[in-house]
């Protein structure tokens, strides 16, 4: 097995989806498994009779190599509607079924997809898209500008059940100019707009909903979605699998595989076992699963940097964490290199601020990274008035100890171990953090969203754009750590209002320098997504799985 480290990201919204990163894909289990006469494909299999089966643990089945199938795991039944989909698994399959106006290339830059081109008004508040002619929906209807307008009307309507509204809060309205031209009106210039169009905003067919709410169209979102993508859903077996077949009318390069199967496999260990048994082809794994696949024949491990940053967030509405000097000291105190090497087995990049390396145009490597230096941490805290008490814990001038609770979500060994490492490092400089684990949903809903925490280990997955206004600008909805820095506010505001890449690069470089002096969060690492892939799979781009799947027409696998 080889390992690579490649670049581009895929992102995901939110700290979301704890159970996450496994979306899996796996290729072709086509050849699977029958007994006796198994002819694959649509094939029928000879009935062997129970006895035969029980006895016949013998002869591994050979499928006749007819169809090329790629199998990918999901952890639960997806919602086949990109506007309603709340979880990463649904996002993955929706990437295949529902293309958007643009899609990210291997540099994560938006390139034409359902739109062939676009123009921007000089004030940056209007985007006019020319749509690709001759595109057909999976049911044969023609794709037009009305579909685009319908989709975005739903996205920005808070009562529709839309999960994309915050992404597109800048959109004021969408006008149909003619059947192949649409114009987006924005409330204000919004630089991440194109990146967001290629992120989760798959286009829906207006005709399929005729007067019904999106949430009422159950058979659409569960069994019979209609998209324009390279594969269309032909069968959906609850709890088992979604089977997709090549779309002969696809507007792009002809899909290479005959079928894509998303199999529902909730347990990541079981996913790995299925990969090794040849029943899955592409499986996202955690560092803890590496020993199970390294050295396995026919399995390749690839790592792709993704736009995420994992961090310890300190609640800055508390006096304990309000001063930048304290947060700088905590950065010195935590040995992030050791966490990356020890806990993540090297599958992450060391951090420098909140803009991850995968955003190559914006991550500024010339900004200094704060090293592991416990002595500097002690010195800074001493300057700030902290003195060690007899119990070894630091106390401030008023005699209050430096003591707080660090929350982490339960059940993910990587994050639990990282939190433990942070706790131990802090103890060494006299800071007493106690750990509390809780279910991810509880953590977010009861603690993070209401701001009811002292410190929390969590992460952001972002679109492939450096805009972090919503997370780190004063008073924003997603600024759970209550970070407030005037300079950062103005840089972040300017960064999202400027379309010019060179200018944005300067702004975000300045933002990272500001972060160095006044860290909004203690970034622990930029993880790489680890995929265990069958060695027979070809055509998987060096992108995070979410973006890679928008290039699913290129996927194929060698015959057995």
């Amino acid at each position: 097995m080889q390992r690579g480290t490649a670049g581009p990201p895929d992102a995901e919204a939110g700290i979301g989806a704890a159970r996450t990163h496994r979306a899996g894909l796996s290729p072709g289990s086509d050849a699977s498994i029958g007994l006796g006469a198994r002819i694959r494909g649509r094939g029928r299999r000879a009935l062997g009779g129970l006895a035969g089966i029980l006895v016949c643990a013998c002869a591994a089945p050979e499928g006749a190599p007819t169809a090329v199938t790629i199998s990918i795991p999901l952890i639960n039944d997806p919602i086949l509607n990109p506007v309603l989909a709340p979880d990463i698994g649904s996002v993955l399959i929706n990437k295949v079924v529902f293309p958007g106006l643009v899609r990210p290339d291997e540099q994560l830059r938006p390139t034409p997809d359902l739109a062939t081109g676009w123009t921007t008004s000089p004030d940056g508040r209007e985007y006019t898209f020319t749509l690709r002619p001759g595109v057909k929906w999976h049911d044969g209807h023609p794709f037009t500008a009305h579909d685009v307008a319908f989709t975005f009307d739903q996205i920005i309507d808070v009562s529709s059940g839309s999960r994309l509204r915050s992404d597109f809060a800048a959109v004021a309205g969408v006008d149909v100019i003619d059947s192949l031209t649409v114009r987006f009106r924005l409330h204000a210039p919004f630089a991440p707009f194109l990146a967001l169009l290629g992120y989760n905003a798959g286009i829906l067919p207006a005709h399929a909903f005729a007067g019904r709410r999106l949430t009422e169209a159950t058979e659409f979102s569960r069994t019979r979605p209609i998209g324009t993508g390279p594969f269309r859903v032909i069968e959906s077996i609850p709890g088992s699998a979604i089977v997709l077949e090549r779309n002969p009318d696809y507007y792009g390069a002809p899909p290479k595989a005959d079928r894509l199967v998303f199999r529902i496999v909730p347990d990541v260990n079981a996913q790995v076992a299925q990969l090794r048994a040849g029943e899955l082809d592409i499986v996202p794994i955690e560092p803890a699963n590496l020993p199970g696949v390294e050295g396995a024949p026919d399995v390749t491990v690839v790592e792709n940097a993704v736009p995420q940053h994992f961090y310890v967030g300190f609640n800055q509405s508390l006096p304990l964490f309000a001063r930048p000097v304290v947060r700088r000291a905590l950065e010195y105190a935590v040995n992030r290199r050791a966490i990356i090497d020890g806990v993540l087995k090297g599958t992450a990049d060391p951090p420098r601020g909140t803009i991850p390396v995968v955003l190559r145009d914006y991550h500024d490597a010339s900004v200094p990274a704060r090293p592991f230096a416990p002595d500097s941490a002690r010195a800074l805290l001493a300057q700030a008035g902290w003195r060690a008490g007899e119990d070894g814990v630091l106390h401030d001038r008023g005699g209050r100890p430096f003591r707080f609770t660090l929350l982490v979500d339960k059940g993910n060994p990587t994050r639990e171990q990282a939190a433990l490492a942070v706790q131990q490092d802090l103890r060494r400089i006299g800071v007493d953090a106690s750990l509390q684990t809780m279910e991810f949903a509880t953590l977010v809903r009861d603690r993070v969203l209401p701001g009811n925490f002292e410190a929390v280990l969590i992460w952001w997955t972002t679109p492939p754009d450096p805009d972090q206004y919503a997370y780190y600008a004063t008073g924003q909805d997603n600024n759970h750590v209550r970070y407030s820095n005037r300079v950062a506010d103005s840089l972040l505001a300017a960064g999202r209002a400027t379309a010019d890449t060179a200018r944005r690069r300067e702004l975000y470089s300045a933002f990272q320098r500001t972060e160095h002096e006044d860290p909004p969060v203690l970034v622990l690492y930029y993880p790489r997504e680890i995929l265990a892939v069958s060695s027979r799979v070809r055509g998987l781009p060096r992108l995070g799985l979410r973006d890679a799947l928008r290039h699913s027409e290129a996927l194929t696998r060698d015959p057995r």
Binding site: A13, G14, G16, S32, I33, G34, L35, R38, R40, R42, R45, A46, L47, G48, G52, I53, L54, C56, A57, A60, T69, S71, N76, L84, P86, V158, S159, G161, S166, T215, T218, S221, R222, I237, G239, S240, A241, V243, V261, R263, P266, D267, N269, A270, A273, Q274, A277, E279, M438, E439, F440, A441, T442, R445, D446, V448, L449, W460, D477, N478
Partner: protein, 315 residues
């Protein structure tokens, strides 16, 4: 008989009501909330819109009242996670769980009952010791470990059985294919039940062997095989069938683990997922189904007593 059934049905409805009420209460008392709302990116406005759409903005008592009223009309609501009617979601899974749990139960009974009687006939014999030892191992080993181990051996190393799923995705229906997928999960699920049932059967049969009527039968010259199977067996069966009725909920919860590891699309796994995601309507729908099944099986067990032991009369 009719009166017995009517009374038992009355009890059944009460039990189900209590179970549902307690489940609903505990679910809402527990910290946290629906996973659909646990997205750190949600703004307060979006959160409110979702809560309103799902009816979560109402007081818990009102929510329960609405659920009861709807359930009484046969409307089990719509799942948060699946965004689809619960009745359909659950019904789609019932046959799979029935197949898996039924096969496992059948295997258990076929193995445990005769083995238990044999072991009891010659306590501390070679068979008794061997089987007893195996039974303890089966009870002690965690199910998920057994499941992963079975996958590793039979699907990865030997490559003779599929590692998961209930059928080959995308293939046409074929009994052989289904059966191959059933083998490992059914065996794993049966392991624990078999072991426990075996212990019950053995001790129950030993008690029966010691009873005076057995001595009488022996004294009358009945051959030992007939003593064992005609007389002891039937008497010994009663506590075992009771145990079997009690095993059902355990079988269903065991199925949740087995189903998760083997990616078996059953109700147990659905229940785990619903509970983890705090999908209130789905949890309630599953609770209703499972409690009804358990109550029903226990009524059947009562009826069985009459057949097994003529001394028992239904009141």
């Amino acid at each position: 008989m009719t009166r017995f059934l009517l009374r038992r049905l009355g009890h059944a409805v009460t039990v189900i009501l209590v179970v549902c009420t307690v489940t609903f209460g505990i679910m809402h008392l527990a910290p946290g909330g629906p996973a659909v709302l646990a997205d750190p990116k949600l703004s307060a406005e979006e959160q409110r819109a979702i809560e309103q759409r799902l009816g979560l903005d109402r007081p818990v008592v009102v929510q329960y009242g609405r659920w009861l009223a709807a359930a009484a009309r046969g409307d089990l609501g719509e799942s948060f996670l699946y965004q689809a009617p619960n009745l359909r979601t659950v019904l789609a899974r019932v046959p799979n769980t029935a197949l898996l749990a039924g096969t496992a139960l059948l295997l258990s009974v076929l193995l445990a009952v005769p083995l238990g009687v044999w072991c009891a006939a010659r306590p501390r014999g070679l068979l008794d010791r061997g089987v007893g030892g195996l039974a303890f191992v089966a009870m002690a080993v965690p199910t998920f470990w057994l499941a992963i181990g079975a996958i590793f051996v039979f699907a990865v190393v030997l490559d003779v059985l599929p590692a998961g799923g209930a059928a080959t995705a995308g293939a046409d229906f074929a009994i052989a294919d289904r059966a191959r997928h059933l083998v490992l999960p059914a065996l794993v699920l049966a392991a624990v039940t078999t072991a426990e049932l075996l212990r019950y059967m053995r001790s129950s049969a030993r008690t029966a062997f010691a009873q005076p009527f057995v001595r009488v039968v022996r004294a009358k010259g009945v051959p030992s095989g007939a003593v064992q199977w005609r007389h002891v067996f039937r008497t010994a069966l009663i506590p075992v069938v009771t145990a079997l009725g009690i095993q059902l909920p355990r079988l269903l919860s065991g199925a949740a683990i087995t189903e998760s590891v083997f990616a078996w699309p059953g109700m147990g796994r659905l229940g785990v997922q619903a509970a983890l995601g705090r999908d209130y309507p789905l949890v309630m729908a599953i609770t209703l189904f499972v409690s009804a099944a358990v109550v029903l099986v226990n009524i059947l067990v009562d009826l069985f007593y009459v057949w097994a032991d003529p001394r028992i009369r239904l009141e």
